[in-house]
């Protein structure tokens, strides 16, 4: 048996066709007579704005949903999948947008889950582990099979997902926004792995919002918009701008912010130290000032203390040392709620976990923090009419695709949940805004809108701290760029003062003076 290559017992998938697939959810037509096909050895990219129906289409191919109408043909034969078990059986694997891992189980257990063991009914985790080592080495670096999933970085978790599919002998693998949660370095690693897989005969379906990724890896591109098929093109015969137009239905402007005269210091961080989750020192003395009307971008490879810094500023992580001043008031010991009340807005990185309640409706999520504000209350009663008007405005302005304000947000597409939380935080008119990865997983149209809003807030005199792993985003938006490496700030440069390469060097731990000389 060749490692990682589809086994012979399973028939090799030569061609998959999805014909006239229609799928309805209450209030939404998620797929409207969509046709899609993929051939053996190909990478077929699927593009579309948030809520366009990409995940829904793929979930039907993986047996999680059943199409209302339409047909799925594999090697020319029609198939009906009642459950993922059926799809796995014919050799389809899927890496989901939100990982499908059990954090409290080990890597080996996650991989073995649901499979027959060689020692049925007993587990044979030793054998599974050996194979995981083999597979993970073949497609990148070894993953410790006995590690618990919660101990792994996001990139490692994704590799576990890929190994899960390969272990089951998948020949067609669907990757639903695999790069949305990865650092640039991790994306490079992933692409190496994917290319290796294609070489070994696998077929890939690749979903992403990032056009350069699509251009770099795919053979063909299919674009969906509002559940409808817009078209399928050979990647080599299409330009970036054409794809944008197909996705958004219009041209997207390039931003070019002009420097502003910055105001007084609004946020000041002095000698901040804090521990990370695993008890190691995550922040080793951070000093930073942010002025009103200024965006300071924090660049850095993830895991160098970005998350800890954001959490310390928001008041959800304990600091060991140092002070935080907002408008010269010491807020170091205030809890989150009090910081929010005194003018801090915080867009957490883990928005799904820290910023929203999945079972609550769109409107309830909009007023998660502000329901007690005098703006929306009459005495002890909530002013629902006013809340509704406000919520529907936000939904309209941010182009959040939802059947209604009362839909629980768990039914929204991933990107639309992001947009909703962004909308809420940006609408608060704070003094200081901390935005962690504000456009992660968000489509091009919405990214443009969020960027515009950030710049608009800046013009209003707000101090903005932008934490992002997307270097392009940082370089376009920031007035100054701070580079974080191993819990220290390596240096702060003005925009246009340093090249992307120079910033990259600093992110790798090269000192500022040295980096600027190269």
């Amino acid at each position: 048996m060749a490692h990682g290559v589809p086994t012979n017992e399973k028939q090799q998938i030569q061609r998959v066709e999805m014909c006239n697939i229609t799928k309805c959810f209450p209030g939404v037509l998620a797929n409207d007579r969509v046709c899609f096909d993929v051939n053996q050895g190909e990478v077929h990219a699927l593009l579309g704005e948030n809520g366009a129906g990409k995940s829904t289409l793929m979930r039907q191919l993986y047996g999680l949903y059943r199409p209302d109408e339409g047909e799925i043909l594999i090697n020319g034969r029609p198939y009906t999948f009642n459950s993922p078990a059926d799809a796995i059986e014919v050799g389809i694997g899927m890496i989901h947008q939100h990982f499908m891992l059990v954090p409290t189980m080990t890597v080996a257990e996650n991989v073995a889950l649901g499979l027959k063991s060689s020692r049925e009914p007993m587990l044979d985790l030793d054998k599974v582990s050996a194979r995981i080592r083999e597979l993970s080495q073949l497609y990148g670096s070894i993953i410790d099979p006995s590690a618990y999933v919660w101990q792994l970085s996001v990139g490692e978790q994704q590799r576990v997902e890929i190994i899960k599919a390969l272990y089951r002998g998948a020949s067609l693998i669907i990757l639903d926004e695999p790069t949305a949660v990865l650092t640039p370095q991790e994306v490079n690693d992933l692409f190496v792995t994917l290319k290796r897989m294609v070489k070994d005969g696998h077929t890939l379906i690749f979903i992403s919002h990032k056009l350069h990724e699509v251009m770099a890896i795919s053979n063909r591109v299919t674009v969906l918009r509002d559940g409808c098929l817009i078209g399928t093109r050979l990647t080599s015969e299409v330009t970036r701008n054409e794809l944008v137009k197909m996705m958004v239905g219009r041209d997207v402007r390039q931003l070019n912010p002009q420097p502003l005269k910055s105001g007084p210091v609004r946020l000041e961080i002095q000698g901040l130290q804090a521990m990370g989750d695993r008890g190691t020192e995550a922040l080793r003395g951070i000093n930073l000032q942010i002025h009103g009307g200024e965006i300071v971008g924090l660049a850095g490879v993830s895991g160098n203390g970005q998350r800890e810094l954001a959490e310390c500023l928001a008041g959800v992580r304990k600091t060991n040392h140092g002070t935080i001043l907002m408008d010269s008031v010491d807020i170091s010991f205030m809890p989150l709620k009090q910081r929010i009340d005194s003018g801090l807005a915080y867009i957490p990185e883990e928005r799904m976990r820290d910023g929203a309640v999945r079972e609550f409706s769109v409107q309830e999520n909009v007023f998660l923090h502000d329901h007690a504000s005098p703006k929306y209350t009459h005495g002890i009663f909530l002013d629902f009419a006013r809340m509704r008007v406000f919520a529907s405005e936000l939904v309209k302005n941010f182009n959040v695709k939802t059947p209604g304000l009362d839909t629980p947000i768990k039914n929204l597409s991933g990107g639309n949940i992001q947009k909703l939380i962004m909308a809420r935080e940006l609408s608060r008119q704070p003094k200081v805004l901390i935005a962690a990865q504000p456009t992660r997983g968000v489509d091009i149209g919405a990214t443009e809108y969020i960027h515009q809003r950030l710049l608009q807030q800046r013009e209003e005199g707000i101090a903005i701290f932008l934490i992002s792993e997307d270097l392009d985003e940082i370089c376009v938006l920031s007035d100054r760029i701070a580079v974080l490496y191993e819990g220290r700030i390596m240096g702060i440069v003005e925009r246009n003062e340093a090249t992307v390469e120079q910033i990259g060097l600093m992110m790798a731990g090269i000192s500022m003076t040295e980096a600027m000389q190269r």
């Binding site: 999680l64 989901h96 954090p103 409290t104 073995a112 649901g114 499979l115 007993m122 768990k410």
Partner: protein, 310 residues
């Protein structure tokens, strides 16, 4: 006061504790199966009651303890199917369903008791069996090896349950549907079926717990015989951190302290009886307070699973 430290008293306390722990072990380990799969079954006490009645009735009328045990198992299974149908298939609120099941078991067992038996009677149930050789060891033999089969069964259940939950492919499925049912579903695990089986195993063990009272430890049946033991069993699952061994320690702690306070009363140690009675509860709560930080409950506990929620 010195009496308390006599060997015979210590032996007495331990013997009592082992007996007292028996129904808790069955019921709590059963509940652990259920809860690890994500279903809180608060109906344990009701299942214990109705199975206790069923096994007692059968033994009273046939004289066969094995038929009695079988009756407890069958009735437990039926109650489990009912609970699973309501909470897994119909996806009803688990807390309410469980309390409903409890009321049902309590009411039905007392109604049936009244109409078919009428008054308190006793039967000859499972008798103590002395294990050859081991049972003859002085003191130790008396404490550990002169109990009825259902008592041995309860303690053998601990390693058995551990093995099934931790070392088998089914155990992995059981855990995964309680932690992240969407993940299990995406690998083709039939979430509902695993939960059905888990709830039914739990209910069967609750049934045996009931039988261990009515045809082994007490050999009689009365209205509300369990007096809420099933609820303590549910608490023991939390105490034991959803692990059979943890549950074993919890059950032993609770019943040892209970046996200890009974002995203190018998020996006339001067403490108010109210304090003595509260002792096991106080100690268990204290132990729980100390351990609570380490306890990690199944992430999908109490959450019905519907595909497409992720």
């Amino acid at each position: 006061m010195n009496d308390v430290f006599q060997l015979s008293v210590v032996a007495g306390i331990l013997t009592s504790a082992i007996r007292l722990a028996t129904p808790y072990l069955y019921a709590a380990i059963g509940e652990a199966f259920s809860q690890r799969s994500g279903v809180v079954n608060l109906g344990v006490d009701g299942i214990m009651l109705i199975s206790a009645y069923a096994s007692f009735y059968i033994v009273l009328n046939t004289g066969s303890i094995w038929l009695g045990l079988l009756a407890a198992i069958v009735v437990g299974l039926l109650m489990g199917l009912l609970m699973a149908f309501i909470s897994v298939t119909l996806k009803a609120e688990q807390g309410i369903s469980g309390i409903g099941l409890y009321m049902f078991g309590l009411g039905l067992s007392s109604l049936l008791f009244k109409t078919t038996i009428g008054t308190v009677k006793t039967v000859t149930g499972f008798q103590p069996v002395k294990i050859p050789l081991l049972g003859d060891i002085p003191v130790v033999g008396e404490i550990f090896f002169q109990h009825s089969l259902l008592v041995y069964g309860a303690f053998l259940l601990v390693p058995l349950a551990w093995f099934v939950l931790e070392k088998t492919t089914w155990g992995l499925k059981n855990k995964s549907v309680g932690q992240n049912p969407a993940a299990a579903d995406s690998l083709g695990v039939n979430v509902d079926r695993v939960r059905y089986v888990s709830v039914c195993i739990g209910a069967i063990l609750a049934g045996i717990a009931g039988a261990s009272l009515s045809i082994s430890l007490l050999n009689l049946f009365q209205d509300n015989l369990t007096a809420g033991q099933g609820f303590i069993a549910v608490a023991l699952v939390y105490f034991g951190g959803w692990k059979p061994v943890g549950i074993l320690w919890g059950a032993l702690l609770f019943s040892t302290v209970n046996a200890f306070q009974l002995w203190m009363q018998v020996l006339g140690v001067k403490i108010p009886s109210d304090v003595a009675i509260m002792l096991p509860y106080l100690l268990t709560i204290a132990a729980l307070a100390i351990t609570i930080n380490r306890v990690r409950q199944p992430a999908a506990l109490n959450k019905p699973f519907e595909r497409g929620e992720s």
